[in-house]
Symmetry: C2
Subunit: 188 residues, 2 copies
């Protein structure tokens, strides 16, 4: 941020009076421009013993598999966001169930929230941001090709809970940086 | 938003290519300025059979009681945010427990997350944004003077769960507008 979005002046980066952290502050109109974490919402949608995954048509992690998920929009609920993202990325209609995982990713200032859901019909197809959409049984999950660590964690909880029959809400926090190297690796 | 925060040009409000909603788009540098919901994080901190409330020294709801809570900052986890807000508003040190409530407030594009927590000592006092900080037993909760509906919902869940002994994570969504009228009324 270089310019004030309210008046167009060049902003300064300093600690406002009574605050604890430096912010982008406008010296002309005094607006403090806060920057806050973003929420990613998505759905783990079931059809019998299979779950819906999308193969990404966009960066990051182009070509890798993920649950339908994306940035929550203003004026929607987290559950509405999960249904909207599933419709956008997989052209799939779902009945949203309970919130299932909430995983902090402080290194990139994101919080990822995934709902359990029930796929309402089989008329899904790739949306603009997906190359493929498909149902996967546990044995067929492409574990080495899951796009994001929060999604891999969510899938592991899901299959563990399904096996045990003890469903619960799971929280987590990804603190380690993604592994470096030439191979595409899950991150965030 | 009137000006591009990257280059200072006047922004346009239109649907970018491949998008579904209108955004603030810069015609000069092509930056799309997304606006997303904000997360409020806080803590319900216990000391024996009492819980910690703060009386607000700032608007909105100046003079009313709330759990220590505030906007999550970049590069922290939700749990870290809950501990930070408790330290800032009540100068209180806590051990953060499980996530307890997550309540959507789509009308104001916020998601409120409250953790259960254990107060570590009694050396609390009002921070800059609080007039008073005090421990309340259930019978003494000032129900008519709770600042926000998400906080009142969280407190009701807490005392219900404590009575039943069945602790669980609760989600919710506040869809109705706050009641109108002259009296200060809980909102958000
Ligand atoms: Zn300004
Ligand atoms: Zn620009």
């Amino acid at each position: 941020m270089k310019f004030c979005s309210s008046c167009g002046s060049t902003v300064e980066f300093r600690v406002p009076p009574g605050d604890a952290l430096p912010r982008h502050v406008c010296p002309t109109c005094s607006t403090v421009h806060y920057q806050n974490p973003k929420i990613v919402v998505g759905a783990l949608a079931e059809w019998e013993d299979r779950i819906l995954l999308c193969r990404r048509a966009i960066e990051p992690r182009l070509g890798m598999w993920t649950l339908p998920a994306g940035f929550m929009e203003n004026e929607e609920s987290t559950a509405q966001g999960a249904a909207r993202e599933t419709l956008e990325e997989a052209c799939a209609r779902i009945e949203v169930g309970p919130m299932y995982t909430l995983i902090d990713v402080p290194a990139i200032s994101q919080v990822h929230i995934i709902y359990r859901a029930r796929l309402l019909d089989l008329d899904f197809r790739p949306g603009e941001e997906s190359l493929e959409v498909a149902l996967f049984a546990e044995a067929d999950i492409p574990w080495e090709q899951i796009a994001f660590r929060t999604i891999a964690m969510t899938l592991r909880h899901y299959f563990d809970d399904r096996r045990s029959g003890n469903w619960s809400f799971h929280t987590g926090c990804i603190t380690a940086p993604p592994p470096a190297g030439g191979k595409p690796v899950p991150a965030g």
